[in-house]
């Protein structure tokens, strides 16, 4: 037989590895052909690798070739292998070929590459973990391992694309990569050039279409219903029966909160918002709200928790804002600090401290760190040329200069970048520069500055990262950003500025300079703690006992993951460094960006004027938290999620459970006699609860929210199937069954109220008041599902938790907050790009229309189900199904999604 391969064709990897294993079974000739040669006579398009069999037949599928080699060596086919290979062909390959194309042909990096395959990688990792075997189909390496390994090798051999948190995948991949047939295949195909060896082949391929639905999406990941073992069920039942007794005593509240030896001490920070701006929803979800969920969760676990944040107040922007508003910088800070504090209070953010950076402690600690760095030789001096406005008597920051672009002649180029040609500009190179404030012409002055000698600290940083990163919960984007900074090599960074509003530099000759914010802003966490307690060093100089979690959007990663750690390591004062750096991606607003200047988007202070409760905002923002990929805030989606997930799923379940107790059992939880079905439900809820814990321990906030919603979906189904409202009118046995179902349901509701606490604190408290949940059960969340409302427990008055959001209400909000967006966008786009802007409303229909269609789809769906249940005439069913499909298509169009067209009629 003859194998046809082509230089750099990724399919050669698994095929050669599989051939290597079956070596000696048959004679194999290998021919190399060009990437565009047609080897198989009946295929129109070129395809390699191809195996020509002695019979003359062709195998043109990579997996089929590998399978053939395995079959020749006596292996027998099995279901699990078939399943892996089908998954590889239908799910992994589309995602992977897109990723490889981005990486190799388009030169993209990081999450642009990893984003499309992350779900598939996670799937492999979970499967390996769940079945607890070293290989995909059991204890020994087999066909499935070779095929998947070969497919993944080009990408994963670069450690940047093998996420460390997927540890099961990690060790599976490493094990296979060290096996001899695999090693040889890798050397033959990649020739030590890494993934770039695929270039000659991939360049000739058409661009693969990205896997469906993997773009910016707010849709949940798949929910797989796990299979339960008898043991798991038995354990869930035992835990349930122990009930309230198994709750540990509540930790007493301390003030101030200080680390305690022998306990888990969790220090949580949220990126300090810059004082002169009102935060928008993206800022809120990126830091304070995400950190708040984790802080609340941490307290539910009874971990000793301190959550702190504050406003970042120094810098040029504050000085300028002060000039604009005719106030002093201090007055500006005082004014905006209050605005920030109010917003976060409204959003129910549970800070232990919300401080500010303009305090004497800030000066003291910053200067101390600086002195230590200076004394240890980590500070350099150099001269920098800068523009200075003589009339304003100050040096101009880049964005306060305008002038003619030295590249394209555009007249309103900014000091850092030209809006017309997009090139980066060095402010001193601008022609005819103008001070943006007074319009006079600045002059070039040289000025002495101090630099942090990062190259000298690089080795210490790498050592620390090597100890910290493995096994930690740093998000993949944070790891990637730090890795790429290190790969490019660190350079000395200027840490001083010619400003007045800042921390003064304690060095002769630098009296009129201050520290640059990115040197001292992260020190703000320390000074804010120091203002909270004089024992602040027990948190910040205590790396052995303190677990530091820092939350931020990804643009802040270098300061927290690199600059501050370098300063702290250089200062040699045993500082607590970040153990888990949690960075989000970006949140967009309805397909665009939030923009204060254009009045686009919802800002923190406006959210409260919408009439929508803070908890609903929290829920929706957390539901779309940009975790792993960018996401978008959309009014229509918010309405849908409120009405479907909160009202119909969660709210409906909790309300029904409580109502049944009040209506059928006089407000007392009835006796429960668990059947095997109930026990299975207990075990499923327990499993989902465990998942919630696992996810939150890894700070996967958005995914954990889904677990909660899954539990209430289980609960709704349970009620629906068992129909307690009918059984209550039946025989004694029926009534007992109604009691058990109601009792179990209301206990699930109680569990949900606690799980909900980090996400929707007010709603959680409301449910707990309605159910009269005993206090310890409200404040502690264990990993087991307990019966916290035993038979005979009296509940309070039950009332609905959520309100329906109406279309006209949402539509008017959308208009209010999208205000002026259309003209502004057009105006801006006209300047920036030849592509016309699309009005957001052009792509989707009005929400009321969508809602109407959704109702119709539901109605029609019911008709079809009923007909099918009655085993009605086939033609009749078919006709109704056709109607349903048509409605679904209309809905898809209205929602602006590509309709699921029948194959062959794909719209252009």
């Amino acid at each position: 037989m003859r194998l046809f391969v082509s230089e750099g064709a990724p399919g050669s990897l698994p095929v050669l590895a599989a051939a290597g294993r079956a070596r000696g079974r048959a004679e194999l000739l290998i021919s190399t052909v060009g990437p565009e040669d047609c080897v198989v006579p009946f295929l129109t398009r070129p395809k390699v690798p191809v195996l020509q069999l002695d019979s003359g037949n062709y195998l043109f599928s990579t997996s089929a070739i590998c399978r053939y080699f395995f079959l020749l060596s006596g292996w027998e086919q099995d279901d699990l292998t078939n399943q892996w290979l089908e998954w590889e062909a239908t799910e992994l390959q589309p995602a992977l070929s897109a990723a490889l194309y981005y990486l190799v042909v388009q030169g993209k990096k990081g999450d642009d590459v990893l984003g499309s395959v992350r779900r598939a990688l996670t799937h492999i990792d979970h499967s390996l973990r769940r079945q607890n075997c070293p290989f995909l189909a059991g204890e020994t390496e087999s066909l499935a391992d070779i095929v998947l390994w070969g497919a993944l090798y080009p990408l994963l051999q670069d450690p940047a694309y093998l996420p460390e948190e997927l540890s099961a995948l990690h060790s599976w991949f490493q094990t296979l990569s060290t096996q001899e047939p695999c090693q040889r295949a890798a050397e033959t195909v990649l020739k030590q050039q890494g993934v770039l060896a695929l270039r000659p082949y991939l360049q000739k391929q058409p661009q693969p279409s990205p896997p469906e639905g993997r773009a910016v999406t707010n849709e949940p990941e798949e929910e797989e219903l796990a299979t339960l073992s008898e043991e798991e069920i038995a354990m869930a039942v035992t835990a349930w029966e122990k009930g309230l007794e198994s709750l540990p005593p509540l930790r007493p509240q301390q003030n101030p909160v200080l680390p305690v030896a022998g306990e888990r001490n969790v220090l949580i920070t949220s990126a300090l918002p810059y004082v002169n701006n009102v935060p928008h929803l993206g800022n809120i979800i990126g830091c304070v709200l995400s950190a708040d969920v984790f802080a609340r969760y941490s307290r539910l676990r009874q971990w000793n928790t301190l959550y702190l944040c504050g406003t970042d107040e120094y810098g040029t922007a504050t000085e300028t804002k002060a000039m604009e508003e005719g106030l002093t910088p201090q007055e500006i800070c005082d004014k905006y600090h209050i605005i920030h504090a109010d917003i976060y209070r409204w959003f129910n953010i549970s800070f232990d401290v919300f401080g500010r950076t303009t305090t004497p402690q800030q000066t003291k600690i910053t200067q101390d760190i600086f002195q230590r760095l200076l004394a240890r030789g980590f500070v350099l001096q150099d001269t920098v040329e800068q523009l200075r406005c003589e009339r304003c008597a100050r040096f101009l920051a880049d964005r306060f200069v305008e002038g003619v672009c030295p590249f394209c002649g555009f007249e309103e180029a900014r000091g850092d970048q030209c809006d017309k040609c997009g090139k980066l500009i060095n402010a001193v190179e601008l022609k005819k520069p103008q001070c943006k404030v007074c319009r006079s012409c600045p002059v070039v002055k040289s000025s002495q500055h101090l630099f942090l000698d990062l190259p000298k600290l690089e080795k210490r940083l790498e050592e620390w990262l090597g100890k910290t990163l493995p096994g930690s919960d740093w998000t993949p984007n944070a790891r990637f950003i730090i890795r790429s900074w290190l790969r490019d090599g660190l350079k000395p960074r200027c840490i001083t500025r010619d400003l007045k509003w800042g921390t003064p530099v304690p060095l002769e000759g630098f009296e009129d300079k201050v520290f640059y914010v990115w040197f001292d802003a992260t020190i703000g966490y320390l000074s804010i703690t120091a203002n909270y307690t004089d024992q602040w060093e027990r948190w910040w100089k205590n790396p052995e006992q303190v677990d530091l979690y820092q939350f931020m959007a990804k643009d802040n990663v270098p300061f927290h993951g690199l600059v501050f750690p370098c300063s702290a390591l250089g200062a040699e004062d045993n500082y607590t460094l970040v153990s888990h750096l949690i960075a989000t991606e970006y949140l967009n607003y309805e397909d665009g960006k939030f923009s204060k200047s254009r009045g686009v988007g919802v800002f923190g202070d406006m959210a409260q004027d919408t009439g929508i409760p803070a908890d609903i905002w929290r829920f929706y923002l957390l539901y779309i938290r940009p975790e792993g990929q960018d996401s978008a805030f959309s009014w229509t989606d918010m309405l849908l999620k409120n009405n479907s997930e909160l009202l119909n799923n969660l709210g409906n379940f909790i309300n029904r459970a409580g109502m049944f107790v009040s209506k059928f059992f006089g407000g007392y939880v009835p006796e429960m006699v668990l059947t095997p079905d109930d026990q299975r439900l207990l075990a499923h809820v327990t499993l989902e609860l465990r998942r919630y814990h696992q996810l939150l321990e890894k700070v996967r906030i958005r995914d954990a929210l889904r677990s909660m919603l899954t539990i209430s979906r289980h609960g709704n189904q349970y009620i629906q199937v068992n129909e307690p409202w009918k059984r209550i009118k039946g025989s004694e046995a029926d009534r007992q069954r109604a009691g058990t179902v109601t009792g179990l349901a209301v206990n699930i509701a109680a569990l949900l109220s606690v799980m909900l606490q980090p996400y929707m604190p007010t709603v959680s408290a409301t449910i707990q008041a309605q159910l009269q949940l005993p206090p310890p059960a409200c404040s502690i969340l264990l990993t087991n599902f307990l019966c916290t409302l035993p038979a005979g427990h009296q509940i309070g008055t039950v009332s609905p938790l959520f309100q329906k959001l109406e279309n006209d209400q949402i539509e008017s909000l959308r208009q209010r907050f999208g205000g002026g967006q259309l003209e502004e966008t057009l105006d801006l786009k006209a300047k920036m790009s030849p592509k016309p802007a699309v009005a957001e409303t052009g792509t989707t229909a009005a929400p009321q229309q969508i809602q109407a269609l959704m109702d119709e789809v539901t109605k029609q769906g019911n008709i079809v189900r009923e007909l099918k249940a009655q085993k009605a005439d086939k033609n009749q069913v078919a006709a109704e199904v056709a109607k349903l499909l048509d409605l679904k298509k209309q809905l898809a169009v209205a929602e602006g999604k590509p309709p699921e067209v029948p194959k062959g009629k794909k719209k252009k």
């Binding site: 129109t44 086919q77 279409s209 794909k906």
Partner: protein
């Protein structure tokens, strides 16, 4: 044809009496079968091969190593190419390729009828209209109407 309906049809033609229940996963509605004595199985061709074994008709998966590999190759072709989001152009190419492949064959493996023929037939069923309209795919035509009906 939804995957579940297709699998039920397959059960019937294999002579399996008790009908299995299928759930569907994800936006592509991939079928899932909860088996009695083990974990669930996911994927059309995976479940189909499982049913064939249940019905003791392993010969439908091919008898020799070569046949077995060819059957699986065309099963993969079915779920990746035939079910893929193909444009009219793609379908044209696909039918042309199949036509030329089947030129000198009765079935996909040559002379033996296998699961690959069944599932490819089900998969192509949807294109029947375009086949009639274009009228040139005689062999595919034959496969659909003569051999498999």
């Amino acid at each position: 044809m939804a995957a579940a309906a297709e699998l039920s049809l397959l059960e019937k033609s294999l002579g399996l009496s008790k009908g299995n229940k299928y759930s569907a996963q994800g936006e592509r509605q991939i079928p899932v079968l909860q088996t009695n004595n083990g974990p669930s199985l996911t994927g059309l061709t995976t479940i189909a091969a499982h049913l064939v074994k249940q019905a003791n008709k392993e010969y439908l998966l091919g008898s020799t190593a070569e046949e077995k590999a060819i059957v699986q190759q065309w099963l993969e072709y079915r779920v990746t190419r035939v079910d893929g989001h193909s444009s009219k152009n793609d379908i044209h190419t696909l039918l042309k390729d199949l036509n030329s492949y089947l030129e000198d064959k009765v079935y996909l493996t040559g002379y033996n009828f296998t699961l690959a023929d069944i599932l490819l037939y089900y998969g192509l069923h949807r294109f029947i209209v375009s086949i009639i309209v274009t009228g040139i795919f005689s062999v595919v035509f034959r496969m659909i109407f003569l051999n498999l009906s």
